[in-house]
Each structure stands twice: as C-alpha cells, then as structure tokens.
C-alpha cells in the first residue's frame, strides 16, 4: 500500500496498530512494509523509544545483505520488472550488475566501517530500479528505493557507472531515517554534504585508499566523453570539477564568503554543499590515513546522534567538534583537526554561540 507511493504521509491512513499486527504476523514483505510505516510514523510523532522494544520483531539479523534489482524498461512505473535478487546470477545488462554490486558495496561499507545494518540499521532490503524512463538524466532515492536513469548520452552517461553516486543516493536514505534534514537552504546543503561525504568514503573504502591517495571527486566518469570535466563535484577543490561551453562551469563555492543565495535547486543545496565538503576534506587530510576511520567516524556519529531537521552549517560544525571531543577526548588531535578544517572554509567553531550571547 505504501509501496506504490513516493510519499510516506499516505501510509498514515492506516492506524499504527494495524501495521503492528502485520509486522508481527505478516509475511516478510508485509512485515517490512509495515515496519517502515511504523518507523516513519513513530518518528513523526516523536516516539522513537517505541521502536527499540518493537524493532527486534521485524529486524533482519545483522550482516544479512538483501538486494533486489528491477528494470523499468524505459517506462515510469516503479519498481518495474524484477531482474536480479540476492545471490542471483550475473545479468547480461551492466546497469543491473552495477546497481547490484554498488548497493552491496554500500551495505558492506556501512557495516564494516560503522557497524550499520543497512539504510535503516535494521537490515532493510536495498531495492534499485535501472533504465528508468528514456534518456533520464538523474539518479535519486525516492524515500523507499534507488532509481537510476540511463543519461542522455550527450551530457551524461548511465548513473550506475560511478560507485560514489550509488553511495551518495543510499546515504540520502540513511539521512532520512536518522536526521530528517529538511531539503532546503543550509539544512538541505548539509543533506547533500553527508551524501557526498559517505559516497566519497565508499569509493575510498572500495579502493582501499588513504585520504591523500583519494581523488575526492563525486560523479566521476558519468559525463559523456565530449564534456570538459572530471566529475560533477570536487570535495578537495569545490568549483573546479568541470568547465564546459555546453553546460557551463562547476558553481560550487569553497568558502562561506562565497555562499550562493538562490531560490533554484532548493536554495542551492547542490551548490553550497561545497563549503562543508571542503571542511571534511581538510579534516581528513590533516588526520591522514584512511578517511573513514576517524574523520568518517566523527561525521557518522554526528549524523546519527546530533543532526536535527533544521541544523545549519555553524551548528553542524559545533556538533562535529563536540563529537570529536566525546570520541577522542577534549583537545585531542582529532578535535583540533575538526576545528581547523571548519576554519579553512570560514565557519569557525563557537561563532554561533559567541554571537548568541553577545560575547567577543
């Protein structure tokens, strides 16, 4: 019932006790659907603790990866035709295999790096649809599943080609379950930022790269060959990823002084994410080694434990600083690196507090 809708509110039509009954007594698919509806509706009502007692009933055992790939066959009906399930044979269609492998690697990354059991941390099945519509220039998480277009062939190639795109989109699912960051202005740019961080870290984890070895690019290799650009975004040097006569240049700022005020793109959510992206890069480079181990852990715990729907850049900076102190100690190397990283992009830690209290 909720399955065919991209909007959760429709799920609320059914009283939660009905979902609870289904989640206890239904088949696996019914249980999952009911549990998702309960999760979201409980959150909306601020009853998170309810879930802790109930979760065990609908949870897949830790470490169980379940992937399902569908083919929309260039149509707009979701999810489309089932073409590959968990453990199923390789397809002749590379998009199917890329979606399957990419979502599997994303699952493994979240499990190994952060002990997270899938998108919802309760073993949620990872559904993906490929070949959505014709020449469709996008990939997105619709609240329940991944959707990939083939690209138009002139600007973009297929969106499954780059694993950081897959990690980016699935992280929108994690953010939906954990932080519910509003997709507008600074909270929206942070929503984008966390997706870029964990998309990039996924790629680094798969390649077993250190922060220094990594390219810190998002959407590498999805531009058509004739486009002048290495990727869609650069966390290392925001604003430098592409410059092409056909599509213009990368509009991302790398510093708060160049923050872009706009009404398009939900208030520049894909533009101003460049600012926190570079802060994360600076922290990761300062700490060295594998970025998911320390910088990634600080950002992950911040997303899970601290971020609120309307958190802005300055608040997010303060939260990462606080979390670094909690994990590694006050005045630790890690906490100092966090402070320095945000300072590079013009978001000093404590500025918000000083301003609020009138202190210098």
């Amino acid at each position: 019932m909720c399955r065919d809708s991209s909007q959760y509110p429709l799920c609320f039509i059914i009283p939660s006790h009905v979902h609870e009954h289904i989640a206890r007594n239904g088949n696996e698919r019914q249980k999952e659907t009911a549990f998702r509806a309960l999760t979201v509706s409980s959150r909306m009502r601020g009853q998170r603790e309810f879930l802790t007692t109930f979760a065990v009933l609908a949870t897949t055992p830790t470490g169980t990866k379940r992937r399902t790939i569908y083919d929309a066959k260039n149509g707009m009906t979701l999810p489309g035709k089932l073409v590959r399930g968990e453990g199923g044979p390789k397809s002749a269609d590379r998009s199917v295999n890329e979606a399957y492998d990419g979502s599997g690697k994303t699952y493994d990354f979240y499990m190994k790096a952060f002990q997270r059991n899938s998108i919802d941390d309760r073993g949620m099945r990872l559904d993906s649809t490929v070949h959505y519509r014709r020449n469709f220039n996008n990939a997105f998480w619709n609240g329940q599943q991944m959707v990939y277009g083939d690209g138009d062939g002139q600007i973009f190639q297929r969106f499954t080609k780059s694993i950081d795109v897959i990690g980016h989109e699935l992280t929108h699912g994690v953010t939906q379950y954990e932080a519910e960051l509003v997709y507008q202005n600074q909270p929206g740019a942070l929503n984008e930022h966390f997706s870029d961080v964990f998309g990039s870290l996924l790629k680094q984890y798969v390649k077993q790269q250190t922060a220094k070895q990594a390219d810190w690019l998002i959407g590498e290799a999805i531009f058509a060959p004739s486009i002048h650009g290495v990727a869609l975004r650069s966390m290392k040097a925001p604003g430098t990823a592409y410059n092409d006569p056909l599509i213009g240049r990368d509009p991302q700022p790398a510093h708060m002084k160049n923050y872009v005020k706009t009404t398009s793109d939900n208030g520049g959510v894909h533009i101003n994410s460049g600012i926190p992206n570079r802060a994360f890069y600076e922290v990761a480079i300062a700490l060295g080694g594998r970025a998911w181990e320390r910088a990634g852990k600080i950002w992950y715990r911040t997303l899970i434990d601290k971020i609120q729907p309307l958190t802005n850049f300055a608040e997010c900076a303060g939260m990462t600083h606080e979390v670094a102190g909690t994990i590694y100690g006050q005045g630790s190397v890690e906490q100092k690196a966090v402070k320095a990283g945000w300072a590079v992009v013009g978001v000093p830690i404590g500025a918000q507090l000083a301003k609020a209290t009138g202190a210098k």
Binding site: M76, N138, A139, Y183, L232, G248, D265, I271
Partner: protein, 103 residues
C-alpha cells in the same frame, strides 16, 4: 505553441534551459508536442503542486503559450503526473537538441 523550459536540481544540478517554438520544429515533432500537451493538459494543472520533498529530485520551470493562453508551472519531477512527465521528457530532448556546440 511556444514553450520556455528550464530544468535544474537533480543529483547533477546541471541546468538545462531552452525556448522552443513548435513552428520551428520538424512537423512530426511539432505534432508529437501537440499530442503530449493535449494529454498533459498543462492549463488545467496547478501552477506549483506540492513537492514530494525527494532528495535529488529534478526541478522544472515551464511556461507554455498556446491558443491565446499562457501558463507557468513550477514542479518537481516526482510530483508531476505521468502525462506531464512524458511532456517534460519530450521538452528535455528538444532543449538538448537546441544546445550550441553539440557534438
């Protein structure tokens, strides 16, 4: 029929803009546009339907002038009815074909 088309947002956020005139299109494409508009009924659509608040959703800003009527619609992709999606996909193709320096 004249159409101002703008697509932004999405994972890539590479904007695509074009002004289209059915009089300048190949006859079969102009006919296809007429048919898609007849099905999508843009003049009966709300000007700004509620967004589904889906991350990385494409955003459209559309103005259609036809038969003495003019209509502007701002809509996110997942919030658009299927008939409007078909029209938006067609307009995206036409906008792409009008880009300069096309390889």
């Amino acid at each position: 029929m004249r159409v101002k088309f703008e697509r932004s947002g999405g994972f890539a956020n590479v904007p695509l803009r074009a002004e289209l005139d059915s009089a300048e299109m190949a006859p079969d494409r102009a006919q296809e546009l007429e048919d898609l508009v007849a099905k999508a009924r843009p003049f009966d659509q709300p000007s700004a339907p509620a967004s589904a608040n889906v991350p990385d959703d494409l955003q459209y800003h559309l103005t259609i002038e036809h038969g003495g009527q003019s209509k502007t619609i701002k809509v996110s992709d997942t919030a658009a009815p299927d008939e409007l999606k078909s029209l938006l996909d067609f307009l995206g193709e036409e906008a792409l074909n009008k880009l300069p320096n096309k390889s």
